[in-house]
């Protein structure tokens, strides 16, 4: 079976998630799809597997133009997708999970299905107990179950979205073995990943996505540098950074340890100087967000962690102590964590002002709100609800809500959803803060921005943290390699 995608376009509001994507995949191929988060990989896979429909473009299966209305429609045509988080029903037995979504009579033939599944599983050396409950299985076992289910339902094209997240090394080896074997039997395997190493070992071909575009293709043998350059764009000329060079430590981190069901970060030591900007790079979910939240007092640390801000030991202190010490956290999800939909701008400014008195000083807060609105150039009125503001204005509002003075500002993806101009403006505002001695630590998936504005950079990969690198002596290629997991010791 051959798949051909022709000029696929997909828009989500103003975002052009897939821009004129054309890709042909021949039978027996393991096709890698690489790119940063938000590059458009998953969107294309969802289109192919029927979860969403393309706005423009055609899908051809063996040179026949087809329309895929739904995931079950896709599966009928032999296209099956394995999701990052398995879409099954954990509190039910494996056998019942298999029978769901099956067409057939009122009384399904459980025994026959179980026998079929066992036979199929044996072929690949998987052991699947059809009477086990799904919630008792590991992520890897659930994945194996899902692969067998898709094959059993007749899939000839298997799409896997980041399948190696959360599975063990031996399960990964088994998975790769299986995929290679399926391809050798003439099936198509589409493997979506941001891990370059995996693409390089497994895939016959790789298509690289960036900003909704398919920017290039590569075949074995790969040159990692080329892939990195395709993924992150050409290295840009580095601009001027503020370069605060104070000797005063604002933040001292010793033996930082964070445990999470997926990641384990440990033994991070870092001193942050007054006015310093530190950029955190890495694929989403590599641990940088946990790190940032721990510094903000929003996540508990474990082990021998010691965390000092301006000399105050905040290690096991509640979040309110962090606020008192001048630590501020600016989340990426503005409507989820940053702002409060249903409250006006003015109400937000009241909440961040002095709230010790019983009654609200309406006049004072209105005045303060107006001043902030003009100072931060927010397009909105004091009585505008925050959800009515555009993304850029919401970000401005978040910055305007930060108290003064601050010791440390932590930002998740500060420029997400902002155009270039707003991004530059945002950094001007942050630089003003730096001049007064505030340290800034931020996460971004935009490497240029990290290189451009940071004094030092930390790269995260699977919970491992690189040594701090001087941004002035680092380039995009080096960062890209580290982000892809290359060059990490142990």
């Amino acid at each position: 079976m051959k798949v051909e995608l022709r000029s696929i376009h997909k828009y989500f509001g103003p975002v052009h998630a897939n821009n004129n994507i054309s890709l042909t995949i021949l039978p027996g191929t393991i096709q890698g799809i690489v790119g940063e988060n938000g590059a458009g990989k998953s969107t294309l896979m969802k289109i192919l597997s029927g979860f969403i429909q393309a706005d423009e473009g055609e899908i051809l299966l063996d040179d026949q133009v087809i329309t895929i209305h739904s995931p079950s429609d896709a599966l009928k045509r032999g296209i099956g997708m394995l999701h990052q988080d398995p879409l099954d029903f954990p509190p039910m037995k494996v056998i019942d999970n298999l029978l769901i979504g099956q067409e057939g009579g009122l009384f399904p033939n459980k025994r026959k299905v179980a026998a079929d599944i066992k036979k199929l599983a044996n072929q690949f050396g998987f052991s699947i107990d059809t009477e086990a409950y799904v919630e008792g299985l590991t992520v890897g076992e659930r994945q194996q179950l899902e692969i067998i289910r898709l094959l059993w339902m007749g899939a000839r094209i298997l799409i896997l979205d980041e399948p190696t997240t959360g599975i063990s090394a031996s399960q990964k080896e088994k998975l790769f073995e299986t995929l290679t074997r399926l391809a050798s039997e003439g099936m198509i395997v589409i493997f979506v990943s941001h891990k370059l190493e995996e693409i390089e070992t497994l895939c016959h071909r790789a298509a690289v996505f960036r900003g909704g575009l398919l920017v290039g293709e590569a075949i074995q043998p790969y040159h990692t540098d080329d892939l990195v350059r395709l993924m992150f764009g050409k290295p840009m000329e580095l601009g001027s950074r503020l370069g605060c060079h104070s000797e005063e430590n604002v933040v001292e981190i010793h033996n930082l340890e964070i445990e999470d069901p997926r990641l384990h970060i440990r033994d991070v030591d870092l001193d942050v100087k007054a006015g310093e900007v530190i950029g955190l790079a890495g694929m989403e979910g590599s641990g940088q967000r946990l790190f940032l939240r721990a510094l903000g007092g929003l996540l508990a640390t474990t082990g021998r962690t010691k965390l000092l801000v301006k000399g105050h030991d905040l290690t096991h202190e509640p979040y309110s102590s962090y606020l008192k010490t001048g630590v501020a956290y600016v989340p990426a999800d503005r409507m989820e964590e940053g702002l409060i939909p249903g409250l006006t701008l003015k109400e937000h400014f009241i909440l961040t002002g002095d709230t010790k008195k019983l009654f609200i000083d309406q006049e004072e807060s209105l005045h303060r709100t107006k001043v902030k609105i003009s100072e931060f150039n927010i397009k909105g009125r004091p009585d505008s609800y925050v959800e009515e503001l555009s993304g850029g204005n919401q970000q401005r509002a978040l910055l305007a809500l930060l108290n003064e003075p601050l010791s440390l500002v932590l930002l998740e993806h500060p420029s997400r959803g902002l155009d270039l101009e707003s991004t530059i403006w945002l950094w001007e505002k942050l630089k003003e803060r730096c001049k007064t001695g505030t340290a800034v630590i931020f996460i971004s998936s935009d490497l240029e921005q990290i290189l451009h504005y940071s004094d030092r950079i930390l790269v995260f990969f699977g919970g491992k943290v690189s040594k701090p690198m001087l941004a002035a002596e680092t380039n995009v290629d080096q960062l890209g390699q580290l982000i892809g997991g290359k060059g990490f010791v142990n």
Binding site: L298, Y319, S320, L323, Y329, P331, E336, E337, G338, L339, I340, P341, G342, L343, E347, I350, L351, T352, T355, K356, K357, L358, F359, I360, Q362
Partner: protein
Amino acid sequence: MKSGSRWYRFGIQVAAVVLALVFTSIILLIAKAQPLEAYKNILVGSFSSIEAITNVIVVWIPLLLASAGALVTFTAGLWNIGIEGQITLGAISTTLVLRLLQHSDVSPAIIIFLAVLSGFIGGALWAALAGALKTYGGVNEIFGGLGLNFVATAMTIWLIFGPWKRPGIGSMSGTEPFANTLWLPTIPGLRLSWWSLLIGILALVLVYVLLSNTHFGLKLKAVGKNRKAASVFGIPTSNFMMSAFLICGGLAGLAGALQVLAVYHRLIPSISSGYGYLGLMVGMLINYQAIWAAPVAFFFAALNFGSIQLPIVMKLDSSLSGVLQGALVLFVLMMDGVRKRFEKKA
């Protein structure tokens, strides 16, 4: 555009009321009754005399307290369905104090004051139970509240037929009535007590001021609208949720206390009379805006009291008022959904 949309919203609300009336009329027609006559009887029952109007106010007072309480928990994003039980516990606590002190030398005024206070505390503690289950135990407040309502009812029945039963034999008519001296004074010849009315109105005004003009109210609102962001803002969300439960339960407890002190003068099995649920309905109907609580609660009270006429005059069940109240809430919520759909399309 702004004022236009306000009229538009108003029109939608009127449409909802009309639909609710139409719906109730259909029910009446199915029951082979004249809708217009039924509505007329309700109106006559509620407003035909000063006595009738004061009786509506007697119903209005607990409803006002329950609605005010519901507003506080709604603001914190909580569905305190346990108001009913909190009223009951208020009534029980009040009865307890009255029973303990009724034969003592303490002056009646002080006994009454202590009884009211005890009602407030009883309701607040019962709400704190639901609140603790929610905040620290992860039990949804709807389930917790509902469960506690049943426990409260069972407790009342047990007290009336057990430890607090009338001399001789327990009866569904409640405990032994208290002496006149322990009643909240009423207007001569009427069932209405100025004291009750004062407490009811004061409670609503306080809640209104609390929610619209204080930092506490704004923080509570922030917790209700987005708990995650509120905690990032440094608001201790658990404390605020617990406070909302305590205030709401306290107000509900006051309602229970007043039912004992000013209306029934004893503990009866159905002392909460559904005011807790009605209070929640008022809260939903007014879209959680305190300023409308008084008129809407009054309207509900009039429906409740007026419909007592129905079985007498038309041989209809008085639960018709419940049908109309429920239909109103459902249609108002539905029309609000319809409006939002249209606005999204436009």
